[in-house]
Symmetry: D2
Subunit: 374 residues, 4 copies
Amino acid sequence: MGNTFGHLFRVTTFGESHGGGIGVVIDGCPPRLEISEAEIQQELDRRRPGQSKIVTPRRESDSCEILSGVFEGKTLGTPIAILVRNQDARSQDYNEIAVKYRPSHADATYDAKYGIRNWQGGGRSSARETIGRVAAGAIAKKILKLAAGVEIVGYVKRIKDIEAIVDPNTVTLEQVESNIVRCPNPECAERMIDLIDQTRRDKDSIGGVVECVARNVPKGLGDPVFDKLEAELAKGVMSLPASKGFEIGSGFAGTLLTGSEHNDEYYIDENGEIRTATNRSGGVQGGISNGENIIIRVAFKPTATIGKEQRTVTQTGEETTLAAKGRHDPCVVPRAVPMVEAMMALVLCDRLLCHHGQCGLPLALNQNLAAIAP
Amino acid sequence: MGNTFGHLFRVTTFGESHGGGIGVVIDGCPPRLEISEAEIQQELDRRRPGQSKIVTPRRESDSCEILSGVFEGKTLGTPIAILVRNQDARSQDYNEIAVKYRPSHADATYDAKYGIRNWQGGGRSSARETIGRVAAGAIAKKILKLAAGVEIVGYVKRIKDIEAIVDPNTVTLEQVESNIVRCPNPECAERMIDLIDQTRRDKDSIGGVVECVARNVPKGLGDPVFDKLEAELAKGVMSLPASKGFEIGSGFAGTLLTGSEHNDEYYIDENGEIRTATNRSGGVQGGISNGENIIIRVAFKPTATIGKEQRTVTQTGEETTLAAKGRHDPCVVPRAVPMVEAMMALVLCDRLLCHHGQCGLPLALNQNLAAIAP
Amino acid sequence: MGNTFGHLFRVTTFGESHGGGIGVVIDGCPPRLEISEAEIQQELDRRRPGQSKIVTPRRESDSCEILSGVFEGKTLGTPIAILVRNQDARSQDYNEIAVKYRPSHADATYDAKYGIRNWQGGGRSSARETIGRVAAGAIAKKILKLAAGVEIVGYVKRIKDIEAIVDPNTVTLEQVESNIVRCPNPECAERMIDLIDQTRRDKDSIGGVVECVARNVPKGLGDPVFDKLEAELAKGVMSLPASKGFEIGSGFAGTLLTGSEHNDEYYIDENGEIRTATNRSGGVQGGISNGENIIIRVAFKPTATIGKEQRTVTQTGEETTLAAKGRHDPCVVPRAVPMVEAMMALVLCDRLLCHHGQCGLPLALNQNLAAIAP
Amino acid sequence: MGNTFGHLFRVTTFGESHGGGIGVVIDGCPPRLEISEAEIQQELDRRRPGQSKIVTPRRESDSCEILSGVFEGKTLGTPIAILVRNQDARSQDYNEIAVKYRPSHADATYDAKYGIRNWQGGGRSSARETIGRVAAGAIAKKILKLAAGVEIVGYVKRIKDIEAIVDPNTVTLEQVESNIVRCPNPECAERMIDLIDQTRRDKDSIGGVVECVARNVPKGLGDPVFDKLEAELAKGVMSLPASKGFEIGSGFAGTLLTGSEHNDEYYIDENGEIRTATNRSGGVQGGISNGENIIIRVAFKPTATIGKEQRTVTQTGEETTLAAKGRHDPCVVPRAVPMVEAMMALVLCDRLLCHHGQCGLPLALNQNLAAIAP
C-alpha cells in the first residue's frame, strides 16, 4: 500500500537502498511518445550520489534500464518499467544500525509498523527510492513540454539561513545547474557551498528550502475538492524524504496580509487573456490552475544521519549512543531539487490527462471518431 | 473526479453552496459503531455560519439527516449518507458575480476548466462543501477514540500577527471552545477578536494559522512511500479552501537548525516504551507515526471576499471593479478549526484501517476464524 | 468499501431498501451536458416496481431529485447527487425475517460479515440499490450517444427454458419495451409472461438470461490487462443482484468450436474500414473494442424470495421454516434489463473518458491550449 | 492504466512477450511472511511453456528474481518486485505479423487504441503477462493458507466436448498435476490429451472450461455492492487472455430451475455452524462468502493462433491471408489452470485484508495497542 501515485498517469515505485535494485512502473503514459534511456539518465544523474563534494560519496552510476513499454524508441501506452540496480552497497557499514535506531530516522517506526525491517541502510525509507520518481518525472516533463510547453524549474532557495533572491518567472535550468548546490544566485551559491562543506567537516548536517516553478501551465488543471492542485502538490512533495513543510504562492507569509493586500486583481492583457496583476495565489485558485506561474516551496530538515554522537536506544530497548559511520549527505537540499521537480511534473501530468479525459471530450455526434482516434 | 478522499475509510462529498444541499457518503466505516445525528450535529455546529459576531451572518441551521448506513443507532458497515439542506440562499446577492470574477476566488478558474459554473455563491468551491468533511470527521474521531484513545484538538495559533503560545500536549477542547475565535489563550483570543471585528468594519479580511494536535496515536500508522502520514495530512488540509501552507513538527523553522540540534534522540521511558526526548519530527518519522503527538500547522489566507472595491474583469473580458455585497467571513480561521480537525481525523482513521488490514492479520493457521469474525 | 464503480466517470451508490432513501453520486461527469430529472426518471421508470402484473406490487414512485452538480439544466463537472426517497416500506412484513435467514439471500452473510444488518427488507443487498446505477446509467448513455453515437439495447433472451431468437444487430428499444417482459420477440414474450404469471401463482420463482448489445462503440476502448473491456463488463453485471454467469460473444458455446471455426477473419469494408466477417469475439479483442457490436449475456437465478415453505435457521442457530410474505418479483429478469444496460453504459463511458485522457492528448507543442480548453 | 489489480493487496504487472522481461510489483503484502523464490518458481513452472507435448514449445525457463520487498527470507511489508527475463525470443518468426493482423488477436485493436504496437509476438497482450499474476498468486495463496487454511484447486473441467465429472469438494492438487492436461479424471485426461495432440497435428486449436474451487474460505469476504466477491472473481478471470465466459455456482444452468429447486436451504451442522444443504450459490450470497466452497468456471476460447491459412488484412488496409508460423499452444486450457487459481487467490487475499481492515478492528478502548501491534 502507498507505493502508487497518480490517477491516470500512475507511478508505482519499488526497491530498497540495498538489494536487487530500485525501480518504477509507469502506467497510463500516452502512446507514441519518443523517449530514450539517455533522456531519463540525464535526470537521474542530477539526483545520483557522488556528483560533487557536498553530497554523499556513495558510488552509484544509477544506470537505468527500460524493461518494458517502449518499442523502437516510442512509448507503447502499456506499462513502462525502469530498473536501476544497486551497486555500491557496503552492508558492513550497517552492522551497528542493525541493532541501534538512528534518531529521526525511520528505523524505529518501520519496526513498530512491520515488526521487521531491512537494516542495510534505510531500506525502503532511503532516498534511493526517489530514483523511480525522478525517472518517471523525466517522462512526465516531456509530456508536459510537448502537450503544453510547460517548463518546470526547481532550485535551492535557502540553505539554513542563507536565502537567495531568485525570480521564479525567469530562472533557467542552466542557471540552476551552473553550480553544485543548485542555487541560481551565484554569490549565494558560493556561501551555501562553504556552509555545507564546513558542516560536513563538523560531522553535522543542515537543511533548507527548495522553490519550484511551473510556467506555461494551461488553465483548468486540478480537481475540486480533495484533488485540488495544491493538495496534490503538497502530497507529492511531502512524501519526499526529509520534507517538513509546504507552501504555495504567498504561503505562511500571506497570512500577515489583509485581503485587500493579498488578493490578485484581474486585468485583461495585450492578448485579451484574463491575467492577475499579482500572483500571491501561486498560479492556483480554488484548486485549479489559472494560467499564472505555479510556485511552491518545500522545507527539508537537516539530514538525520550525522557523524556526531547522539543518544539512542537499541531494538531490544536499551539506551546507548550512536555516531553514524555510513556515507551520507551533509545536506540533502541540492539533490532534492530534481525530486521536487519530478513530483511537480507527476502531479501536473496526471492532472492534465485527467482534465483531458473529463473535460476534453467533444460531446457532439460525428465529432467522435476523429476525436478519440490516436 | 477528485471528490473522494481515503482508501479504506472513504469519503465522497457533493453539493454546492446553493441548490439542493450538501452531503457526504462514507464508505468503509466499521460496523456496529454507535452514532447519532446529534453527535454529528455537534461538530457541524462548530463549523456553521452565524455562530458569532466574527463569522458570516448567513443563517443556516446546517441540520443533518442520516439517509443510510445507520440502523437502530449503529453503523451497518455499508455507506453512510448524510445530507444537509441549503436554506438561507439569497441568490440575488450574486447577480453581480454572475458576470464579474471575484479576485482570488475560483470563479474564473471554474469557468476556464468547465466552461460553466454555478454563480450563485461559490458553487462547489464554497466552504459549505466542508460540511461533508466535518460530518465524516465526527465519525472518524469516534472510531479513533474507541479504537485507540486518540484525541484530536485544533485551535487558532495565530491571527494575522497575533500569535498565541499554546502547549499542544495539554490543550483541551474546552479551552478552545471557551471563546468565539477558538484560541485557547484567553488574552490572545480577546485581541484576535478585536482585530477581526475591526477588520470586518474596515470591509477587509485577515488570515492566520491553525495548529492541530493528535494525541495517543498508535505507532505504525502511515504508509511508505507516497502515502506517508505527513503527505496524506498535507493533502487533506491543503484541500481545504483558503489554505496556503502546511507544516509538520518543526516545519520551516526546522530548516534553521543543524542535524545535531534537530534530531529527536531516543530514550526508554518508565514504562519501557521507546520515546523521543524532543518532538521536532511532529510524531512522524519516515512517514509512519512514532507514538509521540502529531502536530501540524496550516496557513489560511485572508478571506478573498471583501467589501472594499477591487479591480477585476467580467466573464466576457472587460475590465471593471467589484465590491462584495454577499455575506462572508472577515476571517475564516476560527471556522477552519473543526475542518482541520476533521481532515486529520479522516487521515488517521483511514490509515488505522489500512494498517490493520495489511499488518494486523494473524498469519498462523487456526487463529484465523476468530481473528476475522466480527 | 466497494460502493464505488469506475475510474474517471465514477459512481458511488448508497441507501437501503428501507430508511431515508437510495441515491448515487456521480463524479467526473463531463461539464455542459444537458440533463434533466425527466430523462433520468424515464430510465428509473423502467426499473421501478409495480409497473406490471409480473413484477413486485411494492408501490414506489421512485421519483428522483437532483441534489447537486446540475445548474440551469446543464452538468457543472462537479459531483451529481441524485436521491430517491423510499415510500412504500412495510416493515411489519419483515418481522419474521428479523430472526430467520431467508435461503439464498444475503441475510446470513451480512450478519457474518458485519455482526449487524438492517432486517427491514434486504437492506443494502436489496435490488433497490440499483436505482443509483440506473440513474447514473441514464447520464452515461447520453454521453455515449453524444460523443460517439453509441446505442445500448438490452432485452430478455431467455426465461427459464423459453429462449427467444433476437438479432442483436437490429433490435430496437421500442421492440423491447413493446411488452412487459421486455423480450423483443412478441410470440416468445407472450409465453414468457404466462410462465411468470403461473409461477407467481405457484408461489415459486424463475430466472433467465438478459442479452445486451452496444452498437457504434468506437474502436480502442478498454485497457490491458486487468481493465480489459470484458473484465470490466463482467464485474459490472456480476455485481448486480441475482447474477450467476457472464458471457461475451461466443461465450461458453465458443469452447465447442475449433480455432479455425471460431476466429473472426478480417476484411476491408466498402468504407475502407477494417471489419470482421463474423463476431464471435463479441466486439472485443485483447480487451479492447474493435468497432463491432459488443454483445454480452448475463444469467439471473430464480428470485430467492418465494412463498413456498423452505427449511432455514434463525439468527440464534435454531432450525425452522419460512414462507415469504413480503412483496417480491416472481422473476427479476424483466426488471434486470435496464440494470444490465446501465452497467454496460457505466463501463463504456468510463473507458471512453479514460481512453480520451490517456490517448487523446495531442503531444505537439502549440496544439495545446485549444486541445484542452472546454 | 489498467495494469493494477486489487485494493489493499495490490498487484501491478508489466512487460511484453519480447523485450527486457515480465514482472510484477506486489504492494500491501503483510509483513514477516516467509517466502522464497523457489516457492514462487513452483507455481511459475506450472504456467511456463515447453512443459509438455501439448503446449507451446517456446523455451523459457521463466526463472524469477525477487528484486525487493523480501529480506532474509521474509516479506518486509514494502513492495515485492519480481522479474522474469525473456529468453527464447525469435523475433524473426514475427516478420509477417508486423504487417498482417492475426484474426481474433489483439494486433488490430492495439493499433486502433495506441497507434503503435510491439509486433514481436503479442506484446502486452501475450499470455506471458500472466507470469506476474501467477507469481503474485503464489504469495496470495500462502497468505490465505496461513491466515485461514484456504485451499485453491483449479482443473480442466472440459476440453471441447469432453467433459469430466469432478467433485470440487475433494479434488486435490496431486490429482490435477498427475497428468499434463490437468484434468483430475484420468480417463477423460487421456482422451483430452489425444484430442489436443490431434488438433495440433491438424494445425488447428481448441478451447474448454477450467473449474476452480476455494475451500475453507472464511465467512464474510466480499463487499457490497460493486465489489461483490463474484464480481471481483469475474473481473479477475475475465481479464485472462482468451476467456469468454464466467460462472459461479449454478451459473447459466441455474436459470433453468425454479426458486424452490435452486435455493440453498440452511441447517445447523454438528458443530453448531450455519450451513447450506446444497451449494448452488457457489459459496457466495449477496456478494459475501458464506463459508461453503467457492466454485467458479471459466470458458477459454480455442487459441487464436493457428497454422491453417485464414483471411485477414494488413495494417495498411489490404486483404491478404495468414498461416501462423510462430510457436503456440494448440489449447491454452491446461496452462490456464494456474492462472485461474492465481486470480482467485488474488481476489480472496485482497478481500481478506480489506475485510480485516474494515471489520476486524476492535472498537473498545484499551484493546487497541495489542490489536494493531505487529
